[in-house]
C-alpha cells in the first residue's frame, strides 16, 4: 500500500489520477494481471451490448404494446381501461392530499415543523415510474395515449388540489378513498356490460393480482399469525397446520390446482373465472408467508408492553390491537415489503396456466409469424423485466421511507 504524502495532495489532477490508478489497479504484478484480464472482459461485454443496443429493432414492442399492457382486452372497450386509469389517478390525488393533511395536523399538534413535500420529492421518489411511462409512450403508434396520459396526470393534480375541500370526516377516515376508488374502478372497467376479469391480461393483470393479493392475503395472514398465538388449542393447531402446509408446497402447484382442480370443489354450476381461481391460490399461498412475518413481529414486542397494557385494564384484544400490533407491524416493514415484492414477481407464474400476463405476452409475441425465430426474446423479455424492476425498486424505496417516518421517537 502506498501512503498519501502532502506533496501528492497538491499535485495536479492528472498525476493524482495516475497515482490512484497505480495504487488501486496496478499495485502488484498479480493485481496488474487481474486488471488486464477483467478490463478486457468488461470491454468485450460492453462492446457486444452496445452493438446489440444499436442494432435493436423495437418493432415487436411497437406492434404488441397493447398486448403487453392489457392482454386480449377487447379493442372496442379500451376506453373503459382509461376510465379505470382516471379513477385511479383521481383516487391517488385525493388520498395523497388526505394523508398530507393528516400528517400536517399531527405535526401541528406536536409543535413540529410541517414537512412540505414538493414536486421535487415526488420526482425523487417515483422517477423510475415516470421514466417507465415515458418509455411506454415512446413506443405508442398514435399520439392519443400520450394525450390521455397527460389527462390522467391533470386529473391527479386536480384531485390533489381540490382534495383541500374534502370534509374533515372523510380526511380522518382516509382509508375510505382507496375503498371507494376500488369499487368505482371495478364498475368503470367491468360493470354495466363491460368485460369481466376473465378477459383481463398483460401488465394490467400483474398489477391487479398484486394489489388484490396483498389486500386479501394481509388480513388473512394477520389472523393466522394471531391464531397461531391463540390460547385456544383448536385455533392454534388449525393455524399452524394451514401455515405449515401452504409453506411446504410450491406456489406453482397451487396455481395448477387453482386452474384445474378448484372448479371441482365448488358445488353447483357456479364457476369462478380462471382469474379468480388464481387469485384465490395466490392469496392462500402468500397469507401463510405473511403470517410468519407477522409472527416474527409479534415476538419482537417486549413482554413488558403487554403487561403495561394489562395493568391499565385493557382487554386482551385491545392490548393486542392498540399496543402490540402497531409495534409489531412497524418492526416487520422490511420483511413485509420483501414479501410483497416477491408476490409482485410471482404473479408472472400465472403464465404457467396460460393467463396472458405481461411475461406470457412477451413470450408469445415472439411466436407471431412476422417475428418468430429471430431471437426477439432478447428484446421483449428485458422490456418486460423493466416493468418489474421499476415496481420492485419503488416499493423497496418507499418501504425504507416509511420505516424512517414511523421510527419517530424510537427507543
Amino acid at each position: 500500500m502506498t501512503t498519501t504524502t502532502p506533496q501528492q495532495l497538491t499535485v495536479t489532477r492528472t498525476t493524482r489520477a495516475a497515482a490512484w490508478l497505480r495504487k488501486n489497479l496496478f499495485s502488484t504484478w498479480y493485481n496488474t494481471a487481474l486488471t488486464i484480464v477483467f478490463g478486457a472482459f468488461i470491454l468485450f461485454v460492453l462492446f457486444r451490448l452496445l452493438g446489440f443496443l444499436l442494432d435493436i429493432d423495437t418493432t415487436i414492442i411497437r406492434v404488441n404494446l397493447k398486448l403487453y399492457m392489457t392482454g386480449r382486452f377487447p379493442n372496442e372497450q379500451l376506453e373503459r381501461l382509461w376510465i379505470g386509469v382516471y379513477i385511479t389517478s383521481a383516487g391517488i390525488g385525493l388520498f395523497a392530499r388526505a394523508i398530507a393533511r393528516n400528517a400536517e395536523v399531527k405535526a401541528l399538534d406536536a409543535g413540529m415543523a410541517i414537512d412540505h413535500a414538493g414536486w421535487q420529492s415526488i420526482i425523487r421518489r417515483f422517477w423510475p415510474i415516470l421514466v417507465l411511462v415515458a418509455i411506454i409512450l415512446g413506443f405508442t403508434q398514435t399520439p392519443l395515449p400520450a394525450l390521455l396520459t397527460l389527462g390522467a396526470a391533470a386529473i391527479g393534480i386536480g384531485a390533489y388540489v381540490s382534495g383541500a375541500a374534502l370534509p374533515r370526516a372523510v380526511i380522518k377516515r382516509s382509508w375510505l378513498i382507496p375503498l371507494v376508488g376500488t369499487v368505482a374502478f371495478y364498475l368503470g372497467v367491468a360493470g354495466f356490460g363491460g368485460v369481466g376479469w376473465d378477459k383481463w391480461g398483460g401488465f394490467f393483470v400483474n398489477i391487479v393480482l398484486t394489489i388484490a393479493g396483498i389486500t386479501l392475503a394481509f388480513p388473512l395472514g394477520l389472523m393466522l399469525a394471531l391464531g397461531r398465538r391463540s390460547t385456544l388449542p383448536v385455533v392454534r393447531y388449525l393455524s399452524v397446520t394451514y401455515i405449515e402446509f401452504l409453506r411446504g408446497v410450491p406456489m406453482i402447484s397451487l396455481l395448477l390446482l387453482g386452474a384445474f382442480a378448484l372448479g371441482f370443489l365448488i358445488p353447483g354450476d357456479q364457476q369462478f373465472s380462471l382469474f379468480i381461481r388464481l387469485l384465490i391460490a395466490i392469496t392462500l399461498f402468500q397469507s401463510a408467508y405473511i403470517a410468519e412475518v407477522v409472527r416474527g413481529g409479534l415476538q419482537s414486542v417486549p413482554k413488558g408492553q403487554i403487561e403495561a397494557g394489562q395493568s391499565l385494564g385493557l382487554s386482551p384484544w385491545k392490548t393486542m390491537r392498540l399496543i402490540v400490533l402497531p409495534q409489531a407491524l412497524r418492526n416487520v416493514i422490511p420483511a413485509m415489503v420483501g414479501q410483497f415484492i416477491s408476490l409482485f414477481k410471482d404473479t408472472t407464474l400465472v403464465s404457467i396456466v396460460k393467463l396472458l400476463d405481461l411475461l406470457l405476452a412477451a413470450q408469445v409475441s415472439t411466436a407471431q409469424p412476422e417475428f418468430q425465430a429471430q431471437g426477439l426474446q432478447a428484446v421483449t423479455l428485458p422490456f418486460a423485466a423493466l416493468f418489474f424492476w421499476v415496481g420492485c425498486y419503488v416499493m423497496s424505496r418507499e418501504s425504507r421511507r416509511l420505516e424512517r417516518k414511523l421510527g419517530v421517537g424510537e427507543r
Binding site: 406536536a110 403495561a308 394489562q310 385494564g313
Partner: protein, 259 residues
C-alpha cells in the same frame, strides 16, 4: 400522615382502618420453585407499604400477583373488596383499581406522551378525547413535565419517562398504586425526581405498595416496612422500629449488608 405505631403482625394495618388489599395464605410456584410461601398481609386505605429484601425474595412476584400479572396458586387476594378470581371480567375490575409502575417504565414507544396517558381513560373508561387530554395535562403538571406532552418516550430521560409512567397509571384514577422497583433502572441523578413524585402521591393519601432498594424513601415515607426473604414475609414494622431495632436475624444480616 397516618399514625406510625409498631405492628409486628403483617395483618395489622396503619391507615384509616379500612382494608384496601388483603392477601391470605398466598402461594406461588414457578415450576418446582416456590416463589411465595403462605403470604399474609393486609394493607389499609391510604397506607404506604415499602417492601424490601434481597433479590429473588419474591417482592416483585408478590405485587405482580395482586393485579394478576402472575397467577397465584393458592390462597386469597382481595383488592378494594373485589375477590381476585380467574374470571377475566373480575381481573379487569381489579386492574382498573390498581395502577402499576414498572422498573423498565414500559411506556408505549409508538405513542406520544399524552397518548400514552389518555389511552387507558379513553379505551377503558370511555372518556371523551378532550376530557382525557385535560386530565392528562393535569397529571403532567402534577409530575412537573407538562412541556413534554407531545414528545415520544424515546425523546425523554429515564426520570421523565418514569414520571410519565406514574401519570399514565394515575389517569385511571386507581385506588392503589403498585411500584415495582421504580428507580432501579435510573441514573443516580434522576432518582430523586421520581421519589419526590412518589412522596407527593403518598402525602395525598394514595394507598401504595412500593418494592424498592431506596432505604431513605422507606424511612421517610413508609407507614410500615415489610422485609421479605426466600418467598416469606420475615418481619414487618414501622420504619423507626425496623431500621433501629430489627428482631429477626435475617433482617439484621440484610440491613448490615446494605447500610
Amino acid at each position: 400522615m397516618t399514625n406510625r405505631e409498631v405492628f409486628s403482625d403483617a395483618t395489622q394495618m396503619a391507615g384509616t382502618g379500612e382494608t384496601m388489599i388483603e392477601l391470605e395464605g398466598v402461594d406461588k410456584f414457578f415450576g418446582d420453585f416456590q416463589a411465595l410461601k403462605s403470604i399474609n398481609i393486609r394493607v389499609g386505605k391510604q397506607e404506604v407499604i415499602v417492601v424490601i429484601g434481597p433479590s429473588g425474595s419474591g417482592k416483585s412476584t408478590m405485587i405482580r400477583c395482586i393485579n394478576r400479572l402472575e397467577k397465584h396458586d393458592r390462597g386469597r387476594i382481595t383488592v378494594n373488596g373485589i375477590d381476585l378470581s380467574d374470571d377475566i371480567k373480575n381481573i379487569q375490575e381489579i386492574r382498573k383499581e390498581t395502577g402499576m409502575v414498572f422498573q423498565q417504565f414500559n411506556l408505549f414507544p409508538h405513542l406520544s406522551v399524552i397518548d400514552n396517558i389518555t389511552l387507558g381513560p379513553r379505551q377503558v373508561r370511555n372518556l371523551p378525547k378532550k376530557q382525557a387530554e385535560d386530565l392528562a395535562m393535569d397529571l403532567l403538571n402534577r409530575v412537573q413535565i407538562p412541556e413534554q406532552a407531545q414528545k415520544y418516550p424515546g425523546q425523554l430521560s429515564g426520570g421523565q419517562q418514569q414520571r410519565v409512567a406514574i401519570a399514565r397509571s394515575l389517569a385511571m384514577n386507581p385506588q392503589v398504586m403498585l411500584f415495582d422497583e421504580p428507580t432501579s433502572a435510573l441514573d443516580p441523578e434522576m432518582i430523586k425526581e421520581v421519589l419526590d413524585v412518589m412522596q407527593e402521591l403518598a402525602t395525598s393519601g394514595m394507598t401504595m405498595i412500593v418494592v424498592t432498594h431506596e432505604m431513605g424513601f422507606a424511612r421517610e415515607v413508609a407507614d410500615r416496612v415489610v422485609f421479605m426473604a426466600d418467598g416469606e414475609i420475615v418481619e414487618v414494622g414501622s420504619p423507626e422500629h425496623f431500621f433501629t431495632n430489627p428482631e429477626e436475624d435475617r433482617t439484621k444480616l440484610f440491613l448490615s449488608q446494605i447500610l
